[in-house]
Symmetry: C2
Subunit: 424 residues, 2 copies
C-alpha cells in the first residue's frame, strides 16, 4: 500500500472519526475528578438546605431589636442554645417568641419565630467562650437594631438546578459542589483504555542495552502522556520487529477487555523491516488501513487502521516525531474518547525569540521553550546543522510546540507564531 | 488565645516555614512522572549510543560516490544487509570496503568502513519491499554524490551531561529522555502524604443528611485539590465537633506513618463549638499554635499548629473560604513539600469584564470565570446582595481567582486585575 498525501488537519479528522466517547458510568465523587460529565449535573438538594445562621450570635425577631439604642438597649431572655449539627431530636427545638432569643452558632438552623441573627460582637456578651451555654447566662443585651445574617434555604442553589452540562470537566470544585447538592456519584465517561506499544528490534526494554541496541523511551513518553490525558494505560515496551511478536501484543490489546485505542510507535515508514505498516496493511485482523504521508515535520509517515475493531494510531519511532504525533493526533483522540466537546489542539500566539528555517509545504512542529520575557525559541542544543529541536534533548526543556504553517519557509525573530502549550 | 492580625503574605510565610521538602527516593521512571527531581538528571549513556543510519538506504564510502552522475553512475557491490536491532553476534558484521555497499535501515549501526548513507530514493532501487534482501540483489546503482544521513554517536547527548537540575518537574518528556540516556529510575522527592479532615457536627458523610445537617463537601474539594497537586491523600470527612473525635483523627494522621501535612476545615472561628481552634490551642499534643486573623476575604480566620510534630493547616469551613485558603496557603506548602523551587501562587494579568466592590484593608480573593473575549468576571449567580462569588455555585464555573489588593475598594469594568489560574 502506497502512502496517501494528507494535511495535518485531514489526518487528525481521520483519527477522530475512528473514535467516539466511551460509555457513561456512575462513578463515586472522589474518583470522578478529572473525568468528563456524560450527563448534566443536576442539584438533588437545596443549598443551603435550611435557613441557618451566617454568624455566631443570637437568633432574634427583627421587630424586637428594631428600636434598640446604646442608651435604651433591648434585653432578651435566652430560651435556648443551638449550634450546627447539635439539634437534639429528643427535645423540642427552641422557639423564639417576642422578648426572647436563642444563642446560635454559624451554620445552625435558625429557630422558628426568629428572622435574624445578631452577631455576638454587637451584643454586651462581646465574645463566646468555648463550650456550652453557662447556666448563669439567662439574657442578652442588644444596643443597636439587628437584621439579616441568615442564609436562606436555597438562596444559592435549588433542587433541579442544572449546574453543569454534559461535557464539563469534573474539577475538584465541581465534585465538591456535587456533594453540596446531595450527590454521592456523577455520570462520567469511563476512562479510555489505551495500550501503548513501542516497536523496534533495536529497543532494549530496561537496563543496559547491548551492541546495536538503544533504550526504549517512546513507551514511557506515550504512556505517561496518555495517563496525564486521563487514560488508563497498559505499556508494552520494546516489541521486536517480527510479525508474530506484533500480532501477539495487538491481539492482547484487542482481547477480552479490549482497549479503546492502541498507540504504536515505530515501523510505519518504507523500510524493509517496518513491520507495523506491513502487518496493519496486510493482516486479516486489520481493517481500514490508511498509510499517510502527512504534511508535517517531523512525523510525516503515519498509519491508521483497526485491529479486531480497535482503532490503532501508528506513529513514527523517532522520539520527537512520536511526541509531536501524540500532541497532534493522539491527544485529540483521547479528548474525544473522554467525552470532551473541544478536541482540537488549542493554540495561543507568541513572539519568536530567535529565527529558524521551516520546510515549505509542511506544517513544522517545533519543540520550543519560553524565554523569561515570554518569547519562544527552539528547545534543545543548537549546532551547526539546525535548531536542535529535532533532538531528544529538546524534550527536556520544551514547554510548548510552535506550529509553523506550510507556506512559511523562515521564521524571523519577532515574528508571531502559533504555539500549543504543553502540560506534564 | 486571641487572634493575631496578619497579611496573606505573612500567613503564607508562616505556613511555608512549617514544611520542608520530603526525602529523596529512587523511583522507577514510569512512576516518577509528576514528581520533582531531588538531584540532577545526568546522562548515563550517549545519545545516539553509536553511529547509525538516519534513513533507509545504503551505507557507502563517500569517496566512492563523490563522482557519480546520471550518465556515469557508480555501481557498488552489496556485501550485507543490516537493520535496526538485527545485528547477529554469531556472524561477522559486514564491512564496507572500496566499491562495496551495505543495505541499511534507519537506526541500524553504520558498518565499519562506511561514512555515509545514500537514501534508497536516490538510487536505482527506488524503494524497498518488505522483507530481507533478495538474493538477486547483488549491487546498487547510485547516480549522484551522497554524503551524510548518519546520526553520530553522542551528537545529541553525552555521558555525564547534566540534563536537568534538582527541582525540575518530571514530565512525560523528561522521563522519556531519562530512558534514552540509560536510566531506569529517577531521584525524586517522595509524594507528600496529606490527611484531609473535614470537621463539623452538622456534616453528613454520605447520602441524605438528616434535619439540621448538610453534606460534607470540603473533604472532596481539599482531597482532590491536594491529589491534583501531587499528594497522596487520606480523606476523613464529617468529623464531629468533639474533642475526642478530633483528637482521634489527628492522632491517626500523626501515627505510625505520619502525614507530612494535615489539612482541616471548619472550627477555626470564635464560636462556642469551634473545636479545632480549641484543641490546637490547648491540647498537650499541639505545639506552636497561631490563631490568625488574616487580611483576606473570604478566609479571615486561620489556625496553624503542629500535632505531634505534624504541621496542621486549619482553614475555615465555608466552602469558598476553604477553597481560597487551599490556593493561597496549602498549595504553596504542597509545592515546597514536593521539592518545587517556586512555591508562591503565580499570577497573570487580566481585564475585569464587570465591576464589583472589595473590602478595604483585606486582600479580596474572588472566584472568577473567563469570558469569551478573555476578560474575567465573578463566577456564580449574581443577586441583589453581591457578586455571587461567595456562593458554592461559583465553584462550578470558576477558572481563576482574582486577587484584589487591600487598598482597592472597587473594581471597575476595564480595570487590570491580577488573577491566579486554576487547574483541575
Amino acid at each position: 500500500m502506497q502512502p496517501v498525501s494528507r494535511s495535518v488537519d485531514e489526518h487528525r479528522a481521520s483519527v477522530l472519526a475512528a473514535v467516539g466517547p466511551t460509555p457513561v458510568v456512575d462513578v463515586p465523587l472522589e474518583d470522578s475528578v478529572g473525568m468528563v460529565l456524560g450527563g448534566p449535573l443536576v442539584a438533588r438538594a437545596d443549598v443551603p438546605p435550611f435557613d441557618n445562621a451566617a454568624m455566631d450570635g443570637y437568633a432574634v425577631r427583627t421587630a424586637d431589636v428594631a428600636d434598640a439604642t446604646p442608651e435604651d438597649p433591648c434585653v432578651l431572655r435566652l430560651v435556648g442554645d443551638v449550634s450546627a449539627g447539635r439539634t437534639d431530636p429528643s427535645s423540642a427545638a427552641p422557639v423564639v417568641t417576642p422578648g426572647t432569643a436563642v444563642r446560635i452558632m454559624t451554620g445552625a438552623p435558625v429557630p422558628d419565630g426568629a428572622d435574624a441573627v445578631v452577631p455576638v460582637e454587637r451584643t454586651d456578651t462581646g465574645r463566646f467562650e468555648h463550650g456550652p451555654l453557662d447556666g448563669a447566662d439567662t439574657s442578652v443585651t442588644v444596643r443597636s437594631p439587628g437584621r439579616g445574617h441568615v442564609r436562606h434555604r436555597a438562596e444559592d442553589l435549588t433542587v433541579g438546578d442544572t449546574l453543569a452540562p454534559a461535557g464539563t470537566l469534573v474539577t475538584s470544585r465541581v465534585a465538591s459542589v456535587a456533594a453540596s447538592v446531595g450527590l454521592a456519584s456523577l455520570p462520567v465517561h469511563r476512562r479510555p483504555r489505551v495500550v501503548v506499544i513501542s516497536t523496534g528490534s533495536e529497543l532494549a526494554a530496561d537496563g543496559a542495552p547491548g551492541p546495536g541496541r538503544i533504550p526504549d523511551s517512546n513507551s514511557y513518553l506515550l504512556a505517561a502522556s496518555a495517563r496525564n490525558a486521563g487514560a488508563e494505560v497498559v505499556r508494552r515496551g520494546a516489541v521486536p520487529d517480527t510479525v508474530d511478536a506484533l500480532r501477539a501484543v495487538l491481539d492482547a490489546a484487542a482481547g477480552a477487555t479490549p482497549a479503546d485505542l492502541i498507540i504504536t510507535s515505530g515501523g510505519v515508514s518504507a523500510g524493509a523491516m517496518d513491520v507495523v505498516r506491513h502487518l496493519l496493511t496486510t493482516a486479516d485482523e486489520a481493517t481500514g488501513a490508511t498509510v499517510a504521508a502527512v504534511g508535517m515535520q517531523p512525523g510525516k509517515p503515519q498509519v491508521l487502521a483497526s485491529w479486531r475493531e480497535v482503532p490503532v494510531v501508528a506513529v513514527p519511532g523517532n522520539p520527537v516525531a512520536a511526541f509531536v504525533s501524540f500532541e497532534m493526533f493522539v491527544r485529540p483522540a483521547l479528548r474525544r474518547l473522554r467525552g470532551e466537546p473541544d478536541v482540537a489542539p488549542p493554540t495561543v500566539e507568541r513572539v519568536a525569540g530567535s529565527g529558524w528555517s521551516s520546510p515549505p509545504g509542511r506544517l513544522q512542529v517545533v519543540p520550543v521553550v519560553h524565554e523569561p520575557g515570554g518569547a519562544v525559541r527552539p528547545a534543545g542544543r543548537r549546532d551547526g546543522r539546525g535548531s536542535g529541536a529535532h533532538r531528544v534533548s529538546a524534550l527536556v526543556t520544551a514547554d510548548a510546540l510552535a506550529l509553523i504553517d506550510p507556506d512559511v519557509d523562515e521564521v524571523c525573530p519577532g515574528d508571531t507564531v502559533r504555539v500549543l502549550l504543553l502540560g506534564g
